[in-house]
Each structure stands twice: as structure tokens, then as C-alpha cells.
Amino acid sequence: MNPISFLTQMLRIAVPYLFAASGGVIAERSGIISLELEGLMLTGAFSATLGSHYSGSPWIGLLSGILGGLVFGLIHAVAAIRYRADQVVVGIAINLLAIGVTRFFLKLAFASSSNSPRITGFSGSPAAHGFDNPLLWMGLLAAPVLAFFIYRTPFGLRIRAVGEHPEAASSVGISVNRVRYIAVAISGMLAALGGVFLALDQHQFTDQMTSGRGFIAVAAVIFGRWDPIRAALACLLFAAAETLQIQLQGNHVIASQFVEMIPYALTIVALAGVVGRAVPPAALGKTGE
């Protein structure tokens, strides 16, 4: 096995997870359950495709992808915060909505029910092995930057405060809802970037192209115990397992279905507390009362 090709393939697989898991961490640390990462990624991928297709520039695609994620993130925020809707239901609704909306507008914009035409991505030279793609670096930097933001800035402290103890945060003058709106908005944009990377990397949008990656990111958030760095390491671990499976495919060492199970099985093990209990932020999901 060639280590360079292993590394590049692993990073390509990991980048969407890294973005989406970072988005999940920031929303959940503020107390809002984030099951809609899949939908946010899908929206991001489709909006990026629209942007890149109509402008010819991947940068415009990137911006419109972020915008798409922001819109869906805000829908989630308004439903969960303003209307105190059940956050699990809202997350699932947004996932369904994202599939429907992207399919409908795929048909409307490109008259296809399967894929968009070829779009411009950040295509670099083959010698660079994809390392000249700015999104790759953004993905790798997302978690460290987020960790700094959450643990070392005043606003990060507020996010953690409203996620652990909203009453206490409120009593010292923090607007709990405002902090949560901002956290969920950032979450929408971050998760969308995962989809943007996918669409620009594959030079097109295909129906349901995120194919469960958002749920792997959810798994990474929990397996990483709601910490940006540990969640990112979980993403890299899951990506490494997938890469290993792809590179060993010819050998029939292990069926691909069992490799697919790894992230989910590890997450259940983490939740059951077999090796270090995964404890969520104290106020997670509790905007209903």
C-alpha cells in the first residue's frame, strides 16, 4: 500500500466529516441537538453546484454553498428556539426537506433527476494530490480553530455556558437565545462546507450525494464527546477505516458492510460508557420547557 495515496484518499474522505462534525459540535455545545448535519451538507453541496454552475467560479460556489447552509441552519434555529419545537423532529424534518428541495430544484434548474452538469471545482495539478485545494486546508483547520473559539474566546465561553446551564448564563446577562441562534447559524455554514467540498471535488451534484456522511459526523461528535479536537480525531479514524477497506477491496479480507458499521458501533459503545462515558452538554435539547 502506497502511504501517499493512503493519506490523500483518507483526507479526501475525512474533509466532509471534519466540516460537518465541527458544525455539530458548536450547535450541540450551545444546547441544540444537531441531527440535521446530513441535510445541511446536502443543501451546501447543491447550493455550491448552483453557484459554481451559473458563475463558473468555485469561489462563488463556495459562498453560495455557505449561504444555503445558513438558510437551513436558520430554519432549524427558528423552529427549535423561537417555536420550541422538538429538536429531534426538526432535525429529521430538515433532512427530509433537504432531500426534497435539492431534488425538486435539480429538476427545475438542470431538468435531471440524478445529477447536475459538470461544474468548475478547485482543480489543481495532479502532482499536488489535491493538497492545492483550499477547502482541504479549511477542513483540516476547522477543528483547531473551533477549539480555540470555544475554549479561548468570550463568545465561546458563552456558547458553553448556555449549553450547560442556560439559567445561570441568563442570570449574568447573556441572551441565551441570541447565543444559540449564532451557534446554530455557524453550525449550518460549517456543515454546508462539507457538502461544498463534495460537490466541487466531484465536479457535480448527484442526488443524495452525501449518502449518510452527515450521520457519520453525528457519530463523530458523540464519539468525540462534544470536543472539537476529539471529534476531528474520530472523523480521521472513521475515514482511515474506510480508506483501508477501499484499498484492501480486492483482497476480500473483510466485507465492506462491516467496515461501514465501525463508526456507528463505536458510537454505541461510547454511549454505553464501556470506555469512558460520553456525557452530552447538560442542557442539550432542553428548549421546550
Binding site: 441531527l35 423532529v89 433527476s113 450521520f215 466485507a255 454511549l271 460508557g273
Partner: protein, 354 residues
Amino acid sequence: MNARTKEQLEEALFPPLVALLVALICGDLLIISYGQSPAMVYKLLLEGTWGNAYGFGQVLYKATTLMFTGLAVSLGIRAGLFNVGAESQLAAGGFLAALVGLGLSPAIPGIIAVPLCMIAAAAGGGFVGAIPGWLKVRFGAHEVIVTIMLNFIILALLNWIIAAHLHVPETLHTPEIRTGAMPRLESVIGAFHGSAANFTILIALLTAAVVGLYLFRSRRGFELRAVGLQPDAAEYGGVSVGGVWFRALTVSGAIAGLGGINYVLGYKHYYEEGFAGGSGYLGIAVALVGRNHPVGVVLAALFFATLSQGGLAIHAFVPKQMVEVLQGVVILAVAMSVPEVRAVLRRGRKPVTA
């Protein structure tokens, strides 16, 4: 009707009505964006579903699976639990029903084979439901995450079994079951000719009735609802909360699993990879819109089945994907209006003195 019942009905009925209105408006916008007339498209949608026997048969068929998954989710919610695993429970149920149907001798008549397949389906779904139940009671693992993760694990496992051991070459499905087929409705009512509607719908309605009796007329059901409303108070009142949780998730899984017979025994007569096709997730929508009441669930299942079949009827004019958008809109609108309606209605009421 006394005042209390009226209040409860208002709280239950307003959110779905609000959601329907919102969905109609969104639908209008989507149809207009495609350059068509909303009135014409809605008329087509109704004609293609409730307007002819074939379309209506398809609605009944699709509603049948949704009744099972909707009942499964709503039973969990009544116990204060969110079962997001109906998708894989449905698949596991269908898979075991197919296994039994394949394993039994063709000489065994349907009257014996069908119940055996049904037991297998319920057992398969029940087993998948029992896992999050056990993990919650034993380790406190949150059932939402566990059921989501289990969906992927169970579906991957079933896919592997089919791909490695059981599929008919060049397909993703098992061979046809040798016995245990559920008769189609067309065998009694000729007008349903060609539609997949089958007698599983009677099992679904019966299940709805049993769930209703269990929830509202049995001691166990009372305990279940008590735990759902206020687990600490129920525990204080002598109810074993852990036992109720485990039982609720197992029964919920069994109901979803039983839904697998609609496709396997009633329609295709084999298990196929991906046959659940989102019906488990849509069960959440059905439970929500049906307000977790068996009667509501049956009606909501018919509503969502109408939308899904209606999408095919309008496809020549507006992409059928429109109904997927509307499904999402309905769920969001109900979820958003439930707390809102409750707050508005309660604001207008005088406080009840004890």
C-alpha cells in the same frame, strides 16, 4: 362533549390543520415556480389517488406500512421515548418474514404459514427494538442516538447477508417465499386490479385497535403513559420505569417489524435490499401528525400515502419531488405549531382549581 375533551381535541387538531395550510401554500409556490396552475395540479393529485380504484389501492398499500411505523413511533412517544429506529426494525421484520417463508415447506397452507411469518416479523423488529431498550435501562444510553446508529448497523448487516448468501444472482433480493403470501385485495374487490393493496391493511387496522386498547384501557398502558408524562412521579407511584422503557421500545420495534409483511408477504414475496425506503423515518411524521393517537395515526398514514402516490399522478406536470418537499414542510410546521397552539389555547383559559 365536556369542556375537557373539547380542549384536548382542539390541542390535538389545530397543529395538523395549520400544517396542512402551510403545506398548501408552499405547494402553490412550488407549482407556480414550475409554471403550472396549482388548482389543476391539486385536482390531478386527488384524481390520481382517491379518484380511481388503482390509485386508491396504491394509497392503501403505502398507508399500510406507514400505519405500522407510525404506530410504532407513537407508542414510544407515549412512553416518553423517541424510536428513530423504525426503518431498520421494519427491514429486520421483513427479512425474518421472508426467511420463514423461504424455509417452510410449500405444502404448509397460508392459514398457518402467514401467522408464522408474522410472528417472525414481529420478533425481528422486536429484537432490534430491544437493543436500545436494554442499553437505555442498563447504561442510560440515549435511545435517539442508539436507534439512529442501529439503523445503519442493521441495514448494513442485512445487506451483507443478502449480498453474501441469499440473493438471486444479478439482483438485490432473496428468492420468492415458498408459502405465506398474503392475498391481494383485488382477489375480493376486482376494481383494485393491479394495485399492491393486500390484506395486511386489516392487520394494520387491528394493530391500531390493539394499541389503542393497550394504551388507554390496560394497566400496562396506563403505566406506560404515566412514565411518558412524568417518569419520576411514576417511579414514586410504584411503576418500574426501566421495565416500561424496555417493554415500550421492544413492542415499538415489534410493531414496526410487523410492517415488513406488507411488502414481503403482500406485494413482492421476497425481501429486497432497501425495501423500507424511508417508511421508518416517515413513521415519525405519521406519529407526529397523528398526534400519537391510533386513530390519528391511521388518518395521518393515509394522508402521507396520498401525498406519496399523488406525486406520481402529477409527475407529468410538476416533478414528483414536490411532495417530498411538502412532507418535510408538514413535519416542520406540526413540530413548530404544537407548543405554540398549546401556549395560545392555555393563555385563553381560566386556571382550573383543584
